[in-house]
């Protein structure tokens, strides 16, 4: 066996962190934490068979190498082979036909800007997902009328966050829920209780729940292991793009066009500016390609190809930083 090679499956990709590394199984959405020393071994493993690999470490790691490789084979992360050249690495080149992939729309009233016009423009640009954040109690029937343009559109999913209102009949929300299959998530925030009304063992579809949490224009994002996206599309996009900001557009409650709601820069107002013009501006797209590998702290993190963060990126002395740091420290490998 030792003259054989050990190969990880092409969708099981090691990622080095400052104090711990990962094998990301981007086909099955699994991760396997590994010591950095093992990451180095797996790197050398690409050109050496098992015997050569053990020799390279003077026989001191024989037991560990055998045990880990057997474990990987048992867990379906890799396999033994005599012909490693027949199993090339996965091509991680990423491209998308959509000019905009997702959007955040903030609504305070129905007068500040035309919601149906905004949705129509997003549809024309191929936008797949839209998050609607309603900040106040508004006439849901009138708002629903603005969504007529969504029926039969290219838009694939719409999430709706609205404030809890005890006076809103539940039937009205069900009407929203059943309006179109694209409405995949309805969350009522500022509720008196945490309650899941509909949940079907998946993340995006058929989710309808109440939460005590609040929402505002300055709401911060949360980071945790279960919020990361381990899949081929995201992992490939993250190689050269910022997976939070790339091809995203946000409209605040006044109609101002931004990369994301919490960012300071605005790029015109939706009332007099076409989204198609904004997304051609170099300044608007400047951080689309600033992936986590280019950002200080994130570049030391083993989750850098799966962490979706929309935080503003600042540049100081030719280095990129996130305006707000997350609660994971890659130096200590600890969550705060």
């Amino acid at each position: 066996m030792s003259s054989q090679y050990f190969k990880l499956f092409s969708t099981c990709i090691p990622v080095k962190g400052q104090s711990e590394s990962l094998i990301c199984d981007i086909e099955y959405g699994q991760i396997f934490p590994i010591p950095n020393l093992l990451f180095e071994i797996l790197k050398s493993n690409k050109t050496k068979n098992i015997e050569q690999l053990k020799d390279a470490y003077n026989g001191k790691l024989d037991k560990g190498i055998d045990a880990y490789f057997n474990l990987f084979a048992e867990k379906n992360l890799g396999f033994y082979t005599d012909t490693p050249e027949e199993f090339p690495d996965l091509n991680l080149k990423w491209q998308s036909p959509y000019k905009i992939r997702n959007a955040v729309i903030e609504i305070e009233n129905l007068e500040n800007y035309s919601i149906s016009n905004t949705l129509t423009q997003l549809n024309d640009l191929g936008c797949e997902g839209i998050q609607i954040r309603i900040l106040t109690t508004i006439d849901l029937d009138a708002l629903l009328a603005e969504f007529e343009c969504v029926v039969g559109s290219r838009i694939k999913y719409i999430e709706i966050f609205l404030p809890f209102n005890a006076d809103t009949p539940f039937e009205k929300l069900i009407k929203w829920r059943n309006f179109d299959p694209r409405i995949t998530k309805i969350i009522q925030y500022n509720a008196l209780e945490e309650k899941v009304i509909e949940y079907k063992e998946n993340y995006y579809k058929d989710v309808f729940f109440l939460t005590k949490k609040s929402l505002s224009s300055t709401s911060k994002e949360q980071y945790s292991l279960d919020r990361f996206a381990f899949n081929i599309d995201t992992f490939a996009e993250a190689q050269k793009h910022n997976i939070g900001l790339n091809r995203k557009i946000s409209i605040d409650s006044f109609g101002n066009i931004k990369n994301y709601l919490t960012h300071k820069s605005t790029f015109g107002n939706i009332n007099d500016t076409l989204i198609s013009n904004v997304i051609n501006l170099t300044e608007f797209k400047k951080d689309w390609n600033t992936n986590n590998t280019k950002i200080e702290k994130c570049n030391q993190c083993q989750f850098r190809f799966s962490c979706v963060s929309n935080v503003e990126i600042i540049k100081k002395n030719r280095k990129h930083y996130k305006l707000e740091e997350c609660n994971f420290n890659p130096l200590t490998n600890q969550w705060n």
């Binding site: 991760i31 590994i34 999913y157 925030y189 709401s219 990361f228 996206a229 599309d233 995201t234």
Partner: protein
């Protein structure tokens, strides 16, 4: 001086090796395989004919 450096380096390496590859290695000491949310495979959209028409690969934002 050089010898001391080499010895220290070797000691450091040995410590690392002990931590990650204990002599009495047991598979139970290995880190667990963690199943995380695989948004793409769990969020597939099918049309009325049952054909896959789209998937969601990542959250738009992690607010809730």
């Amino acid at each position: 001086m050089n010898n001391t450096k080499t010895i220290n380096k070797t000691k450091l390496l040995s410590k690392k090796l002990e931590k990650y590859f204990p002599i009495n290695y047991s598979l139970t000491q290995s880190p667990p395989l963690i199943r995380v949310r695989n948004i793409m495979s769990e969020s597939q959209f099918h049309n009325d004919n049952g054909y896959l028409v789209g998937v969601i690969s990542k959250p738009i934002s992690n607010i809730f």
